[in-house]
């Protein structure tokens, strides 16, 4: 196999500038390569809990602006011996989610939001029909979760919580985050995030814009 630059000759200190969105306000969020690696390590158990394992495939439906949240899932799949594929979380690209789900039979599809649901239904396809063979369909918002569940699918939730992620499973509604790396505090129903391990962009009781409850160590519930 030929590699062109062969290696990163002069890698930047900042892996990428992503973003965290708080109450519709975009906060630029630089991360390092070490941050991405550590998040991948942290998220691998979340994917395993969804049923992704050796030889499996997860279809990640997302936007490039979500890269600091999604690339760790890509790398986490590799840590489990699994592969990943990608589609855009837009109505226009819903045809790709449909086609790749049919062609690649993923064990997990993560990131379906209400716009992707709109796109799939706009193609004249039913959600239950498209995802019938998928072990876990992970919704990115409440509306998608409701619609997928109404279609009789095994639904979980993905929550972008500041720069990290919390994920539930089809059999447990609690959103699980890594409490060895992050502390979540609750203040009048608002969830605040603090990093417990080094991160390029640190947060100390960062207001995530998410309202919910801490159920116990590493477990959250969203406000209904």
């Amino acid at each position: 196999m030929v590699s062109f630059a062969a290696r990163f000759e002069d890698p930047p200190l900042v892996w990428g500038v992503g973003r965290v969105t708080v109450d519709d306000e975009v906060v630029p969020w630089p991360v390092s390569s070490a941050d991405v690696d550590d998040e991948a390590e942290s998220l691998a158990p979340r994917l395993a809990a969804l049923g992704l394992g050796d030889g499996g495939l997860v279809l990640l439906v997302s936007l490039l602006s979500q890269a600091i949240h999604v690339v760790p899932f890509e790398q986490a799949a590799g840590r489990l011996g699994a592969r990943y594929s990608s589609a855009d979380a837009t109505p226009f690209d819903a045809f790709r989610t449909v086609a790749l789900t049919r062609q690649l039979t993923p064990a997990v599809v993560l990131g379906i939001d209400s716009r992707v649901c709109d796109g799939i239904e706009g193609l004249g396809r039913g959600l239950g029909d498209v995802f019938v063979s998928v072990g876990a369909v992970v919704a990115a918002d409440a509306d998608a979760a409701r619609r997928l569940a109404s279609a009789g699918l095994p639904v979980a939730r993905w929550l972008r919580l500041g720069p990290t992620s919390a994920v539930s499973t089809p059999t447990d509604d609690a959103l699980v985050y890594d409490d060895a790396r992050w502390r979540v505090d609750e203040e009048d129903g608002a969830l605040l995030l603090t990093n417990l391990v080094p991160r390029l962009t640190g947060c100390e009781r960062f207001r995530t814009g998410v309202r919910g409850r801490v159920l116990g160590p590493g477990r959250l519930a969203l406000e209904r």
């Binding site: 990428g16 990640l60 890269a67």
Partner: protein, 442 residues
């Protein structure tokens, strides 16, 4: 770790300026000695195609033998194999997906744009920076810079790894209308030098957002030393508009699904890299090589992809091609994209490609975004039928607008078109976001 010298002219000078004889020697060695035996041995589609033609890699002693004997494949052959064998990779995959030893090599599966049917899964071998480091360097991007990565997800990490390959930091922005405000903001706050990619639809979104907010685009975009424009051709009006913002565009075009070809600072054709692909272009008879500088169909063979290699892949793309050295000092081949073979319509003996009417449609203020489709049920048509997107009906209504579009097109190609006007959104909904299908069935 080494440090990249920001003053060096080329990213890989020893490769980019290699003498032609050496380029061809290396090509022959890779193609005949390595790629073909590998692909024939492992790719079910290549083996089936070559066996049907009665040819084996051992039969080919020279590049002339390859040109005379190697059979072609195309997208239809891949899809047919996929459907026949229920193989999502269309018989191209050369590795056993269940081989545990390959997990760190074959890590993901991306897909083609899907503009001409189902997206085709493309197995990905995590390789770090791609050959586009040469192009990003040519844009003027250097270590320590920010680089606007404005694309979609289904092509994988190759681009952001490549940005880091030149020592720069990617800034992630969606190729979507909703994210144009962040594109403006990150451009102002982080002052990126490179931008990958700008497209016709995104350009339209930027213009609309700037008109609404009064954004001073020349000031907002002043840090960029180069912007890659990709997805589809750009018309003269759009190009002039972008250049009025102070942006230097570098056109990029697909290289028959084995890579990409991108302009250099001379803007005299799109460079492709002959250490990565063997490119042929064929005369209209479909067999004879077209001459240097002539128009022909691009046929691609990878020299480096051993995961799912395309060998003599008919791309359907019509290009002009030369292997003459460029004034920039690089010695590899260049192409000028002209259109797609399947997009051509012939009316009253006149051949028309979408690019032939592009400028005419852009010349009318209400349709200046250049969003249009040629309605094509077959190659030979009784009339030139166009579906054209408009921003507003104009001061005298749609029939007047239709007549003005028809007059402009008539002047450009000598044919009186049948024009169907539709709102922009009707066409934009047919994305993917960076381009729309330029041909549609009636």
């Amino acid at each position: 770790m080494t440090t990249l010298d920001p003053t060096r002219r080329y990213f890989s000078p020893e490769i980019e300026t290699k003498p032609r004889a050496e380029i061809e020697r290396q090509r022959d060695e890779r193609l005949l000695g390595d790629l073909l035996p590998w692909a024939y041995e492992r790719s079910a589609l290549i083996r089936e195609t070559w066996d049907a033609a009665g040819v084996r890699p051992d039969d080919l002693r020279s590049i002339d033998d390859f040109r005379e004997q190697a059979p072609f494949i195309d997208k239809d052959a891949i899809r047919a194999f996929r459907d026949r064998h229920h193989d999502p990779y269309g018989g191209l995959l050369c590795l056993d997906p269940d081989d545990g030893g390959l997990k760190n090599v074959f890590s993901a599966i991306f897909s083609t744009s899907g503009m001409t049917g189902d997206p085709t899964p493309a197995p990905y071998a995590g390789r770090g920076p791609s050959f586009l480091v040469r192009e990003f360097w040519e844009l003027g991007c250097r270590p320590g810079d920010h680089f606007l990565h404005c694309l979609f997800t289904f092509r994988g990490p190759g681009i952001h790894d490549t940005v880091r390959g030149v020592g720069a930091t990617p800034v992630f922005v969606d190729h979507q209308p909703e994210d144009v405000p962040q594109l403006f903001r990150f451009s102002r706050e982080l002052r990126p030098t490179g931008w990958y990619t700008l497209s016709g639809p995104l350009l339209m979104m930027i213009e609309a957002a700037a008109a609404e907010t009064g954004e001073d685009l020349e000031e907002t975009f002043r840090s960029y030393s180069g912007v890659v424009f990709a997805g589809e051709p750009i018309g003269p009006r759009a190009r002039a508009r972008v250049e009025s913002w102070g942006l230097e565009l570098f056109i990029q075009t697909s290289l028959g699904d084995v890579g990409a070809a991108t302009e250099c600072r001379q803007h005299d054709g799109c460079h492709y890299w002959e250490d990565t692909a063997f490119i042929e272009h064929l005369a209209p008879d479909g067999v004879t090589p077209a001459g240097d500088g002539q128009r022909g169909e691009l046929v691609s063979t990878t020299l480096i992809d051993k995961i799912a290699p395309l060998v003599r892949y008919r791309s359907d793309d019509i290009v002009r091609r030369t292997t003459e050295p460029c004034a920039c000092g690089r010695t590899h081949g260049r192409i000028w994209p002209l259109g797609r073979k399947g997009d051509e319509v012939v009316v009253d003996g006149v051949s028309v490609l979408p690019g032939d009417v592009w400028g005419a449609i852009e010349s009318i203020p209400e349709t200046e975004a250049g969003l249009f489709q040629v309605v094509r049920d077959r190659r030979e048509m009784d009339a030139l039928r166009l579906r054209v997107g408009y921003a507003t009906p104009g001061p005298r209504g749609l029939s007047d607008l239709s007549a003005r579009v028809a007059d402009a097109v008539h002047e450009a190609v000598g044919l009186e078109p049948v024009v169907e006007l539709v709102e922009h959104d009707v066409l934009l909904r047919q994305g993917p976001p960076h381009k729309i299908p330029r041909v549609t069935q009636g």
